[in-house]
């Protein structure tokens, strides 16, 4: 399998088969919270893609060159989450200053991402051995981060698109908002079960 073939199979796996939200149960808070409006969902999605890619790169470097050589793997959670929090805050400040327009559409989502378990999830996943015992190298870690982010954005947008319409539907008052959103998420997860076990 060439580079492109590998990339394709990774993309399909990250976006459809092992989707972070619907298959791994990660990143649910923003998935349910920021899916009321399509444009907020889009902003959030872009922010997540960006942070996931960056976090994959940084965490990989820190793990490989700071933790592994000294046998400090037990500190990985601490080091990773610290890196992610600092990274998110840094990115937020940079965008706020350099591109107010981008900050307006993206920046407000950034603090929310620190508590997005999908980011920590992808960082840990990147260093977890694969089925054949090997690990991703730097390039594949970054790509995996990026594609997982795309997968997250994909379902977030789908969810937001449906929820916007759901707002207009006549339903019992107690079902409005979060309850109907959760049931919708359940149905989406059910649909994604169709991809499970798919082999490429």
């Amino acid at each position: 399998m060439g580079f492109l073939g590998q990339l394709f199979s990774m993309a399909i796996a990250a976006i459809l088969i092992q989707n972070f939200v619907l298959a791994r149960f990660l990143g649910l808070c923003p998935y349910l919270g920021v899916s009321k409006k399509l444009d907020s969902a889009f902003g959030m999605g872009m922010a997540v893609i960006f942070v996931m890619t960056m976090a994959s790169a940084f965490c990989y470097i820190i793990y490989q060159y700071l933790l592994v050589p000294y046998g400090l793997e037990y500190l990985q959670t601490l080091a990773f989450i610290l890196t992610i929090a600092a990274l998110v805050q840094f990115v937020e400040m940079v965008i706020q200053k350099n591109s107010p327009a981008l900050y307006k559409s993206l920046g407000v989502y950034l603090p929310l991402i620190t508590t997005n378990c999908a980011v920590l999830g992808v960082a840990i996943l990147n260093i977890t051995p694969l089925a054949d015992g090997s690990r991703y190298n730097f390039l594949w870690s970054v790509l995996n981060g990026f594609l997982s982010g795309v997968g997250f954005t994909f379902v977030l947008l789908a969810m937001a698109g449906i929820r916007e319409r759901l707002e207009l539907v006549d339903m019992p008052k107690s079902m409005r908002g979060m309850p109907s959103g959760l049931i919708l998420a359940g149905i989406m997860a059910l649909a994604f079960y169709g991809f499970m076990g798919m082999k490429i």
Binding site: Y74, L78, L82, P129, L130, A131, G197
Partner: protein, 198 residues
């Protein structure tokens, strides 16, 4: 400038205190955790092949030779096989006899889907491995026909494959390393380890 130092040093201090605490806790919990793990592994081995003493052989595949406590005769081998299942790695400990026929297996670690994949830990599933030879370790979904194959768990084919294929691959390796040194059993452990290492 003052702010620079202040922020840097505060974060530095927090990280240092946190890490020191963690490292300290780790330094005295680590040996205990390892001891517990070893004991658990030993218990599991004893459960698979009772009344034996075990001798560890490290190499491409680490395995234990089980000898009868009194006669010192080789009863079989135990090893741990691991493969990624549906929700993460599935670790299976297996015991085979001298002819590499499975005596019994035990799924010791898994994070599979509750109600489906977790059924792999139940005797109902693991018992079907008893007496199977290398060739019979094929999941029925992959073309095997029971009773000469492993019947997949309902809704957890991937977990079944992870267990069966891991055990199969490990038996393959085990056979290779044992046959490489046919006298392994008779030789002392140091030589055996050397042989395997080769």
């Amino acid at each position: 400038m003052k702010m620079f130092l202040q922020l840097g040093l505060i974060l530095l201090a927090f990280c240092m205190v946190a890490t020191a605490l963690l490292a300290y806790v780790n330094s005295f919990t680590k040996p205990r955790i390892e001891a517990i793990k070893l004991k658990e592994a030993a218990d599991a081995r004893n459960e698979l092949i009772p009344d034996s003493e075990f001798e560890e052989i490290t190499g491409d595949l680490s395995y234990y030779i089980a000898r009868d406590k009194t006669t010192k005769e080789i009863k079989g081998y135990t090893f741990t096989a691991e493969q990624i299942g549906y929700g993460g790695p599935v670790k299976t400990m297996a015991a085979v006899d001298k002819d590499f026929k499975i005596i019994s297996i035990k799924v010791i670690q898994q994070t599979e889907t509750p109600g489906l994949g977790t059924n792999a830990t139940l005797p109902k599933f693991t018992d079907q491995f008893k007496g199977k030879t290398l060739d019979q370790l094929t999941v029925d979904k992959d073309g095997g026909v029971p009773p000469n194959a492993i019947k997949a768990l309902t809704g957890a084919t991937i977990t079944t494959r992870a267990v069966a294929n891991a055990v199969k691959a490990s038996i393959d390796k085990l056979r290779a390393s044992v046959s490489q040194s046919p006298e392994t059993a008779a030789l002392s452990d140091s030589t055996a380890a050397l042989e395997v290492a080769k």
